[in-house]
Symmetry: C2
Subunit: 158 residues, 2 copies
């Protein structure tokens, strides 16, 4: 368990996908901004570690690149936006420098639950089952819950 809200619900709907579901105690517009405004992303995505947002052009065809200053060293992540539909849907590629050329497609939807809460669902599609399983065994779940707990604190303070 992490601090903050309940951990994200992680499932594998098909053999090449990971589905992540999490509810945030904030209105949808606010959650959308937290995912798409570099000045806000930099405050939670790195799980408390310093994060350099080197590039983040949130438009179709734009690129993003983040570098996390993790205890073990720098960790780079990057990708490109396939679809940007505020405040509902964001589709982007995701690639970690440690495995360059292995690309997942992340489709994130933001659902207004009507009571100032927002459900965020990310469906990640991989080229192969092995890549999907590699991601699952990478410590992704812990890192994700740390990031989301940091986002909880930020949303609560806003």
């Amino acid at each position: 368990m992490t601090d903050g809200r309940a951990p994200a619900r992680i499932t594998t709907p098909t053999d090449r996908e990971i589905r992540i579901e999490r509810v945030f105690d904030a209105p949808r517009d606010q959650v959308w901004r937290a995912f798409t405004d570099p000045a806000i992303v930099t405050r939670w995505w790195g799980r408390g570690n310093r994060l350099d947002v080197e590039r983040m052009e949130v438009v179709r065809g734009g690129h993003w690149r983040f570098v996390e200053h993790a205890p073990g060293g720098l960790e780079g992540f990057e990708g490109r936006y396939r679809e940007v539909t505020p405040p509902e849907r964001l589709v982007q590629t995701f690639e970690w420098d440690g495995m360059p050329g292995y690309v997942a497609i992340e489709t994130t939807t933001f659902e207004d639950l009507g009571d100032d809460r927002t459900r965020v669902v990310t469906l990640s599609l991989f080229h192969t089952t092995e890549e999907r399983d590699g991601m699952l065994s990478s410590g992704m779940e812990e890192g994700l819950n740390q990031s989301y707990a940091a986002l909880d604190r930020l949303l609560a303070a806003a």
Copy 2:
């Protein structure tokens, strides 16, 4: 038919793949260089159109970006190298600006046929069958054969 040698043999071994096979009349080291040296790539990849090689770092994790000056306008292509094993194997991602965030994995092998000929096989893996079929219906085959015919002329002149 194009000028130069016989056109590439294009098949679909699975529902998310395209396989392209072509023999070139040149030793493997020379063909490898033609695919990995920016100064040579710029002379054939664009099918006779001007090609700007904006970025081409042929190492694992490096990026590439080409802009073709096609009759209808500029066409951008980019990706990242997953594996670089001279003179045998090159694995990279491939993305066209017209469909940003749609990423194929291209695995190209260079087989020395022992008589100063080289077989080049590219296997492209897509996230979905729809993306694969979109590529097949994009005019890819004609463009590819034009590029390879330009490469034939270059290899013959070398």
